[in-house]
């Protein structure tokens, strides 16, 4: 019974990772990835690895979304600018 929480989080990680792959829009992928980071941190916690969980939390919850969304913004501006001259 004590393993129920491990099974639960493992299933959630598998589902979340699949959702991240199935989504094709980068912004939506970044959203799923942010949730995946948090879910992975919970998985590491229930596996008694809080150091790794903290690393995952620090990187996955804010830093990775920020890097991805900044890249998306740059790419969108780049493809939008020559067409109508608007940023």
């Amino acid at each position: 019974m004590a393993d129920a929480v491990i099974v639960l989080t493992l299933l959630a990680v598998a589902g979340c990772a699949t959702a991240a792959v199935v989504n094709r829009d980068p912004a939506r992928q970044a959203l799923v990835l942010a949730v995946l980071g948090t879910v992975l941190a919970v998985l590491f916690t229930v596996l008694q690895a809080p150091d790794v969980g903290l690393s995952q939390l620090a990187v996955g919850s804010a830093l990775t979304p920020l890097l991805i969304m900044l890249t998306v913004r740059k790419v969108r501006r780049r493809s939008a600018a020559p067409k109508d001259g608007r940023q």
Binding site: L8, A19, P50, A58, S61
Partner: protein, 150 residues
């Protein structure tokens, strides 16, 4: 398996299911809301896990999630402001429900911890969690309306 772990499993089951379902389906506004709620629902789960494993140092995980989760939502609110402007997500019902869950969990854990520095730390986590989520919800429903770019 003690009661705390059972409670943590229940909270995590609800939190993981709801945020996973919300973030992978539906319009963009609902997905961003689900990302915001994932912090509010999983952080109480982490606090209950720390109590269930009887390791006070695991509270640091909940502290970091309460600090950084809303920051992640602010990232999306800021950089997706254009897309969200047309149909700002106003999910105050789920937001307040998640805030209530966080408040109840923190209150119960404080009652168990008794007065002391551990209790104040739990209160700090709770304040950061609830405040951060309410602010992030506010930011999603038009907090960056005047931001065009930059």
């Amino acid at each position: 398996m003690n009661g705390w772990l059972l409670a943590a499993t229940a909270v995590l089951a609800v939190g993981l299911g709801a945020s996973l379902w919300g973030v992978s389906t539906g319009p963009l506004g609902r997905r961003v809301t689900a990302q915001n709620l994932s912090t509010a629902l999983l952080c109480p789960g982490l606090l209950l896990l720390a109590q269930g494993y009887d390791r006070t140092s695991y509270v640091d995980l909940a502290l970091l999630l309460a600090l950084l989760g809303p920051v992640g939502t602010l990232v999306f609110a800021r950089l997706l402001a254009d897309e969200l402007a047309g149909d700002p997500p106003r999910a105050w019902g789920p937001t307040w429900a998640a805030a209530a869950l966080g408040t109840v969990v923190v209150a119960v854990l404080c009652a168990v911890a008794g007065p002391g520095r551990a209790m104040v730390k739990l209160l700090i986590v709770g304040a950061l969690l609830v405040g951060g989520n309410l602010i992030a919800s506010r930011a999603l429903s038009g907090g960056f309306a005047e931001v065009d770019r930059g």
